[in-house]
Symmetry: C2
Subunit: 342 residues, 2 copies
Amino acid sequence: MAGTRGRRGGVGVVDLARELGVSTATVSRALNGSDAVRPELAQRVREYAEQRGYVANRLARALSANTSRAFVGFVIPYVDTPAYSAVAAECARLLSRDGTQMILSITENDPEREHRQLRELLASRVAGLIVSPSTYVTRASKELLRNAPVVELHRASGIAAPGVFSDDEQVITECVLHLAALGHRRIAYLGTPRELSNGAARLRGLRRGLELAGLTERNCATHLSEPTAENGYTGANQLLGAAEKPTALLVGGGSLSQGAARAVRAAGLRLPEQLSLIVYGDPTWFALSDPPLTTVVVGYAELADQAAALLQRRLDGEPVEPRPYLVKPELVNAGSTGPPPA
Amino acid sequence: MAGTRGRRGGVGVVDLARELGVSTATVSRALNGSDAVRPELAQRVREYAEQRGYVANRLARALSANTSRAFVGFVIPYVDTPAYSAVAAECARLLSRDGTQMILSITENDPEREHRQLRELLASRVAGLIVSPSTYVTRASKELLRNAPVVELHRASGIAAPGVFSDDEQVITECVLHLAALGHRRIAYLGTPRELSNGAARLRGLRRGLELAGLTERNCATHLSEPTAENGYTGANQLLGAAEKPTALLVGGGSLSQGAARAVRAAGLRLPEQLSLIVYGDPTWFALSDPPLTTVVVGYAELADQAAALLQRRLDGEPVEPRPYLVKPELVNAGSTGPPPA
DNA sequence: TTGAAAGCGCTAACAG
DNA sequence: CTGTTAGCGCTTTCAA
């Protein structure tokens, strides 16, 4: 009974301690690389633990050391798009180097679910959070976020926290100028709602682009909706079916782009002769189109690296400025833009 | 000092107990819906806890109740493809209904990483695991898996555990018959390695299809490689560049299909006049192709539902047969297959 | 440098 | 039905 211990995993610190003839404190210290233990003893403990196949109970560890890096929460609205799945994968990879496990929470953009998940995550004593807030974050959720080491991703909730975002404003401006330079004067914009921080950023970019191109908002029909492929499809159809047909369609958002691309194809428009099209996301999605689509390419890996690094710095206690950290997207011309039809 | 308690979260069971004038045991029982507490008291406790904003420390809970459903591990080789990301999302959603959090681990198909992650997961006392094993699972990993409630997904490692898979064998047979019926006699197959359980299943389907079609393996060049889009691209090029050109290309695997589709497009082959093509995965990926590609559609949501349900049943202690649970994929004809060129 | 002992916050015997 | 008392497995004072 006493000898068996650890019904489940097996060896525990007390076993090691007993078998080595030292105290559990010493074992713990040795295992955690405390410098307050004679190096050779520490070494011996570690070797023995290894050989004995010891693996620490992370729950106990995290519970005891009221602070620990055992878990980090990753809270996102969706995961079925690379903007999230690719970043999630990369973050999990980076965090696991530190021995940190990532708890994945999908809110489905539902503020209530989000709030519940955040509570649960905090109840699991996560060391920190990487969060992509839902469109309408509740006051209560913000309160929770304020009191935890948070790094925002893709979207900002308005709290004072560092956040990693793609520099949408700048690239959308570039897109508009690109189109205007080709001669377009009736540009349609399909994007995410302004309540979404990235939606707002893209709209700023749009406005700035139009201004710099000497165009007004009257030159630009816009359609804003939550980022789903479905919305992209219907939104694009709506814009393309307007009385004053646009000669170019600019889509601000990855999922919207998926749907929009399908809508354009279904409409049977020849690119770029009948319509110039710029989409958002990963060019490999659009590689099968003919011609391949000119795409705003967002560096998901870089976003992930930044997010993970910022969080780790916060957890290390290093000061991290609570500001946006922007990653520059790249406008990759693949042939779906050209002069407007005569 | 005594009154403050809970440096971090705030209220704990002892606070509630003290403030309500009952014991912590009673509080715990009430909160966990034990029937061994007077209903009205239980009610009062719950209401008070709610009002007090109590939220249980899941670490403590899980540590104490040596069994708990706090966490479940989700171990997959990749997540940047819907075969995994979509299933992960859906599983996270389903598990969260039970209050279970999902720890996401990406192995990158590396057996060593996989083993380490499994150990760490078990060290976190996960209640169970949903695992998509790497191509070459180590003996040690299998040992770990054998001693935990595991449900396999997409791929089997050979241990006695329930697993949820798409019925690749059957659908690949159907594909071959479809092509043969159109008149094809030189079919190329691009698939995953036979070391992968799904690779083996697809090969079985291939062989059976050829046989039923009265063809031999000499009618069918095959190329097997790890499932990445890159490999799909090079593999397809290789098959298409062979001396005896195939008239049809069948791709068994989602990522391979992505690459293969690009290769076919790059080769400038007209579908289905010059080549018949069947791919694997989500048809929306291939919707932009002209014509859209005939696709083997795998029901990711259904896979996820099954996997989550099986795991939950196992955790409930219900007996679950350690066998494959197959989900039928669907062959959706979208126009990229037709009679072979004359 | 090491050990004894007190928790971390919760659940679960065991009594009453 | 309810309370007392041990733990879960680890870390971390506090002394020695």
